[in-house]
Subunit: 530 residues, 2 copies
């Protein structure tokens, strides 16, 4: 079978790459039949040129056109969902139902439609009008964005259909999507619908381009290239830090979702009050998608005591009885084994499985490890090794002081959860510990596990370094996620007819939407008073 | 005379530094009598510890307390203005009137009072409430901020009273101010009022600390230190890039205002229509404060022709007849001479002064240089050397294509100006060139020179790299400037009584202010409907 072409400047073109790859059927480990190119610089170079040419055109596209593209794209994905989901199932082993069809597909469609709505309405760009000084500002598109998608959400975080893609396009930027090599056919089927939707919306053909795979060096070269405005990435810390270094050196923004242990503190009153409920919630969250979520609870902090012993036994029982699916790829499997071995070698006790050692299993069964807080404090770096998959580490503290010390050593995380009793008996401990946890996470939860990342305007799927590269931005949550792909642009005494529509005296109606604008300090959907 | 103490943890303490410095009287070049320490790590280390301890306390301070501090501080600066201005005049040679007393002092006070108002009101933090999912988010303080002030605005950009300081405090962060060694007595007199204002407001004493000077290495070590959350800097590109590298490596935000040529395009119709007016505006802007503004117009693009010859002659005449003041320091003088020599060595023609060579003068007289667009295009890097002071470079293009090419080689700048005729004859050229200029600048102006940076909520005193380190943020313009010193924080199912006041159902009244909040997609000052 011939190698699939890449999508450059609106056309499916044969890649110049001599190297190719095939994805595996994640359930069986066997290679799938489709062959895809590992693009070299010449493909990326062509994509950058086309994207740079498309950027000023896309900047002048109307909000309604951007919205039309995103909503048409959503409709077309929906109409072709069966084929797309079948490909994703084969490539990732994620189940068709409920995961792909009932959860991830609707999430993807909702996200695209929320992006359409935000693009059309325009409040995301924070328009500000100062009539006294005749200065006006808003957030405007940045230029070509490289979106690098992860392995674990073939639809909702796919580089060509996920949250970063949606945000970058909705903000008016061309996207060069770099698919994940674990699911190229899924990505291709999505891209076909994107191409059709671009045409319906009348957007520049190079607004969406697709490269299936490239070497790390080629990716770093793309990030450094002056034609690229910014990069968005979801994946491992190692790859993310390399991209960050390249982007930092070139002076451009990098929005990175790199890694997170998502610490969970369960205080003793809560454990005494509702042990089974919390054990169920924890097992559900820790083992969802075989633990392959960015917000998987990887590190749980507990106070030593009878209720904690009972809780550990309850989790052990659940981990042993719960099924686990195939992992997303051989790389995920070997990474997981390596991380478990690292934790165990540093002294973590493997509570379950009793034998054999989980790092000798393919894939490892659900794995629960424990350490004491003293152990953690002796080597906080190693014990914050992320074990991406169905493994989780409990840290047992002797007292509240130790808990506070552990918290003070936590790296930046996407989320942090605190479980407390409903009777108030944990409240003084909550009040002592919550501020320290708050500062180290993007999203703080109460009595709730971290794995549900709602598509909410109040969501923060971001957090302090090294969970991301900047604490002020979120990858999920429209409209805020759009602002990552924008620059602040001010117009000082610019003649009225030369202003962008959103900053003109008359608030334009895009579809049936009107932006909220700050006019002389007041937020309003009105026109500037004449 | 003994060495002045530094301000650490709320007390004026003797520095441990063996090294000291004195500022010069900028008008005479002679050393002033006061002696200040060049702090070593131990001072900075103490400041970081105190700031880290103050951060959680400051986070819990009420918005009204932050506002009280800022407004009290403004009042106290005002009450002590004569002494502060006298010190600034001696240290910088900037004239008392109108500059320091009638322009910079009121600007500083207005900025502090705008910061007070923004802190109290809270809309800056973009509160978002999603009642359906019970998720709420806002921008919250980051932690200790190192503010490094520049030489050219001893009050309005001073590390302890300027825009970065005001924004960092208004957002709820402790500040470690690193003053500029050219004006330590000004900084000290300001700091004394800050200390008194902290006490009035009941804020933690370490919320404001002052170090007069430190070596570059000590500064980089401070930026890398985990106790520091972010750094703000206004100054040279070289120092800014070193700070950026250190902050990038440590994964923390750096807000840098580094350098800018502020290109001005004057189209031929405008030059024919109002040559004298534009010549006056240009000379006023280029020579204001002897050219020592961040937004000084350093690079002017013109089309070859009779009107351009006339314009050059008009500027030459004005440059020769206008007085110029002493420069801010010997370092500024030697930097300016070096830059002029670099431009001339690369082939720029010195239109004025006729002789001697300006780089042999102390200080140089007002200097006008010209090159052709071809020369520029042969070495765009060298011809974008910033000559900070009373020197300006004109680039003469043969045709519109060359102008477009020059624009395409421009680095990121704070501002860009376009002058056009009022009759419409320049409009097609404007339409062709403006988009390219727009993408390279933070603030686009029409028929107006760039040096007035209004304290407007629509201001962008920022721009694409390397004028700053991130295109999405502004150093001037409240409330947007506050968000630089914040992280996005989301609360997911957090119990009502544990939410920060701004995110509770009832919109708190701070003073007589209420924040605008996005509640279920609608911006409102109302409470959450019960």
């Amino acid at each position: 079978m011939s190698t699939h072409p890449v999508l450059l400047a609106g056309r499916w073109q044969p890649s110049t790459a001599p190297e190719t790859f095939r994805a595996d059927n994640a359930a069986t480990g066997e290679s799938l039949s489709e062959t895809y190119p590992t693009s070299q610089w010449s493909d990326v170079d062509a994509a950058l040129t086309a994207a740079a040419e498309a950027a000023p055109l896309l900047r002048q596209a109307s909000p309604s056109q951007l919205a039309k593209f995103l909503s048409t794209y959503a409709d077309r994905i929906q109409a072709n969902a069966d084929a797309i989901i079948a490909a994703a199932n084969a490539e990732t082993a994620l189940p068709i139902t409920p995961r792909l069809k009932d959860i991830e597909l609707p999430r993807t469609l909702t996200q695209l439609r929320q992006g359409a709505s935000a693009a059309e309405e325009g409040t995301w760009s924070l328009p500000v009008i100062d009539t006294k000084n005749n200065i006006r500002s808003h957030h405007a598109p940045l230029g070509p964005i490289l979106v690098i998608g992860p392995n674990n959400f073939p639809l909702a975080f796919n580089a060509i259909s996920g949250g970063d893609f949606t945000a970058a396009i909705a903000a008016g930027n061309p996207v060069i999507a770099k698919g994940h090599p674990n699911h190229p056919s899924t990505t291709r089927l999505l891209a076909e619908q994107a191409v059709a939707a671009l045409e319906v919306a009348g957007l520049p053909k190079a607004a969406v381009q697709l490269i299936y795979h490239m070497s790390p060096d080629t990716g770093l070269r793309a990030v450094a290239d002056p034609r690229l405005a910014a990069v968005a990435f979801t994946g491992s810390r190692k790859a993310g830090l390399a991209l960050k270094a390249a982007a930092d050196k070139a002076g451009k923004p990098a929005y990175l979702e790199m890694s997170s242990l998502n610490p969970v503190l369960i205080l003793p009153g809560a454990l005494r009050e509702r042990p089974d409920k919390i054990a169920d919630e924890f097992a559900d969250s820790a083992l969802a998608a075989t633990g392959q979520f960015c917000t998987n609870p990887g590190l749980t902090l507990l106070l030593a005591g009878k209720e904690t012993d009972t809780f550990i036994a309850a989790i052990k029982q659940r981990f042993e009885s719960r099924k686990f699916g195939p992992l997303l790829s051989k790389a995920v499997c070997s990474g997981l084994k390596e991380s478990i071995r690292t934790l165990a070698s540093a002294g973590a006790k493997v509570v379950t499985p009793a034998h054999p050692e989980p790092w000798s299993m393919n894939p490892p069964v659900n794995t629960l490890l424990t350490i004491t807080a003293s152990q953690f404090l002796d080597d906080p770096h190693t014990f914050q090794t992320e074990a991406f998959g169905n493994a989780s580490l409990f840290v047992i503290a002797d007292n509240a002081d130790q808990l506070a010390q552990v918290l003070s050593h936590l790296e930046g995380n996407l989320t942090g959860c605190l479980y407390t009793s409903t009777t108030g008996e944990d409240d003084s401990l909550y009040n002592r510990l919550a501020p320290a946890l708050r500062r180290r996470v993007g999203r703080l939860l109460n009595d709730k596990m971290p794995t549900g990342v709602a598509l909410s305007p109040a969501m923060n799927h971001g957090g302090p370094y090294p969970s991301t590269g900047h604490p002020g931005f979120t990858a999920v949550g429209i409209p805020a996620s759009l602002r990552r792909f924008s620059g602040l642009e001010s117009y000082d005494a610019v003649r009225a007819n030369r202003l962008p529509p959103t900053l003109q005296n008359k608030n334009p109606i895009n579809g049936d939407k009107k932006a909220w604008r700050s006019i002389d300090g007041r937020l309003t959907q009105d026109d500037v008073a004449s």
